[in-house]
């Protein structure tokens, strides 16, 4: 009876898990296959049929040359905003996490508490206030209006703080001081080289957050040449006859082309996901397992 129950519940678990696998995977497979078909084939054909390379290259050609390579321009903007934000965030959050974990100063606990609060609060809640602020100093429309808010990444500070306080023993730093290092050199020569896993972790989370951010660039950048990809996608969506038949085919962007644009938008994050898997796990463990 016990055995029977166990087999039954395990079978049930597998059935449910496979069902959800379909739910999570089918949209991705459909998306990857759709540019190989024509818009008409998407409507009449089997959703999982594989189309032709000719269709694929046609859709790629149309999408990339659209409006003087707008897609490539958005891709470039996304890269500049995301990596610009990450670089500044890293440059400030690693020392800050170290300082919070291994130095004493008045206001340290307050700073830690405030960091925790802003970290938990959804970043979206600050977008309109940031816009109002940027508007007051006439910074709206500049790349900095997106890069600088991206560079404020309290979660990175928190990760660095946890890493330094849990996996870098004070004795190690004390030894460096005894060897004659000043505070800056203790950080630069001892603490910073140890931070490699945390740099990878912060880069990963900041990249995913920046790359997919829609609301901030949407309000900050009125000019389509400055759009990052997600905002560009909305532009395509508004103009395409695939979703707005009223557009009457002035724009040659149909579903296969939209699928290409979506794939281009998600590919960098997907690649990071696939490649970062192992090092991410080891990075998280490095923070957790050592004393």
């Amino acid at each position: 009876m016990r055995l029977f129950n166990r087999i039954w519940s395990r079978t049930f678990a597998y059935v449910v898990l496979l069902g959800f696998t379909a739910f999570f995977v089918v949209p991705v497979i459909w998306l990857l296959l759709s540019p190989t078909k024509t818009d008409h084939e998407l409507v009449v054909g089997n959703p999982f049929a594989i189309g032709t390379l000719h269709n694929l290259s046609h859709a790629i050609h149309v999408m990339f040359t659209f409006e003087d390579y707008a897609l490539l321009n958005w891709l470039k903007n996304s890269a500049i905003y995301s990596f610009g934000g990450i670089l500044i965030a890293l440059a400030f959050s690693i020392p800050a996490g170290y300082g919070l974990a291994h130095t004493q100063f008045i206001g340290r606990r307050t700073l830690l508490g405030v960091t925790l609060f802003v970290m938990i609060m959804p970043a979206t809640a600050l977008v309109l206030p940031l816009f109002l602020e940027a508007n007051a100093v006439h910074a709206v429309g500049t790349p900095w209006s997106v890069i600088l808010p991206f560079s404020f990444f309290p979660f990175g500070v928190y990760l660095a703080y946890i890493f330094y306080s849990s996996s870098v023993p004070k004795d190690l730093l004390a030894a460096a001081r005894i060897d004659g290092c000043n505070e800056w050199n203790v950080f630069r020569r001892v603490a910073l080289p140890l931070a490699r896993p945390i740099i990878a972790l912060v880069t990963f989370f900041a990249f995913v957050a920046n790359w997919n951010n829609f609301f901030l660039p949407f309000v900050m950048l009125p000019n389509s040449t400055n759009y990052p990809l997600p905002v560009g996608l909305q532009d395509l969506l508004a103009a395409t006859p695939a979703f707005n038949p009223g557009q009457g085919g002035q724009v040659p962007i149909y579903r296969p082309e939209l699928a290409i644009a979506t794939i281009v938008a998600m590919a960098p994050v997907l690649i990071v996901f696939l490649f970062a898997q192992r090092s991410l796990v080891s990075g998280m463990l490095a923070g957790a397992s050592k004393e």
């Binding site: 678990a13 597998y14 808010p149 404020f152 707005n244 998600m266």
Partner: protein, 311 residues
């Protein structure tokens, strides 16, 4: 407690401070501490504190800059679009949090009961759509919900949907956004919940089984109470993020041929006040409403759960 040199109680309380190594170290350490956090502190002030303070100032003043008390909050609250926007988001949150609680916890418990290698493959697959968060996920789901091209067209036709317009009727949006949020976001939470389950000592589970508890009883009566903290964490974070809904109604609205209100969610309403009406004070008032919700969620997490013990 943080001093780095061994305590030297025997050291003479120095005639001059510079001769007292402990004090000297402490002072130097203090200055160094400020140097390390200063860059981040500037960013925190410029892009965390100042915008919030500025929004609060705007929310309490008129377009002419005079202090008007709560007037902006009252007027935006009485606006005919205000209540529906919060109702929409409330409905969405009910479905989204309910599905997070039941399905994410359920799936994590199931993953925890099968072999580790198989479960890691499942976890990766569930996590994968997270790469398409935001605008890309909405676009993908516009395809999925369009009965003319969807791989699930038979399923959609069961409900009598014949075109995209019928699937994305305004009344369907809360559940549609919940599905999108679940598709792109549930995987990450499944990974977190599974990790929490993994931290339960094996002896506890074995003891329950020795006492005759079946798989389901063990899951509900032993495992679930032990991961309560993480489930609370997930629900509060999802709630806080869910109140901020913007890109989903914005993009689906774009494809709805004007059927969906451009002020569907509170953030969209704030955006509308700022960009269509040029009324930054009203926009700031709604932003402050949303900020307060976010702050309350953070306060509950920090003070009521013991998840973020900083020392």
């Amino acid at each position: 407690m943080q001093s780095v040199v061994p305590k030297r109680t025997s050291a003479p309380l120095g005639a001059t401070d510079s001769l007292n190594p402990k004090l000297r170290r402490k002072q130097r350490n203090g200055v160094a501490g400020y140097a390390f956090v200063s860059g981040y502190f500037v960013l925190l002030v410029l892009f965390g504190v100042l915008p919030a303070v500025y929004a609060i100032t705007l929310a309490f003043t008129s377009t002419g800059g005079h202090f008007v008390g709560l007037s902006n909050f009252v007027k935006t609250g009485e606006d005919f679009r205000f209540l529906p926007a919060f109702e929409h988001v409330g409905e969405y949150l009910l479905i989204w949090l309910g599905s997070l609680f039941v399905i994410v916890v359920g799936l994590a418990l199931m993953l925890h009961s099968i072999s580790r290698r198989v479960s890691s493959a499942f976890r990766f697959i569930f996590y994968l759509p997270g790469a398409l968060a935001g605008a890309a996920s909405v676009l993908v789901w516009l395809f999925m919900l369009d009965p003319t091209v969807s791989p699930w067209r038979e399923f959609l036709s069961l409900f009598g949907f014949k075109n995209l317009g019928q699937t994305i009727l305004p009344g369907h949006l809360p559940i549609i956004f919940a599905i999108i949020a679940f598709w792109a976001g549930a995987g990450g939470w499944i990974v977190v919940t599974y990790g929490a389950l993994n931290n339960i000592p094996n002896e506890l589970i074995e003891a329950a089984e020795l006492d005759g508890a079946g798989a389901i009883q063990t899951a509900l009566r032993v495992k679930l109470p032990l991961i309560k903290k993480w489930v609370t964490f997930m629900l509060i974070l999802a709630f806080a993020a869910g109140t901020q809904l913007f890109v989903e109604p914005q993009l689906v609205g774009e494809a709805s041929l004007g059927l969906i209100s451009p002020t569907w969610s509170p953030n969209e309403l704030a955006y509308y006040f700022a960009f269509q009406d040029n009324n930054f004070n009203y926009a700031a008032a709604i932003s402050v409403d949303l900020l307060v919700i976010g702050l309350l969620c953070a306060a509950v997490l920090v003070f009521r759960t013991k998840l973020f013990e900083v020392e």
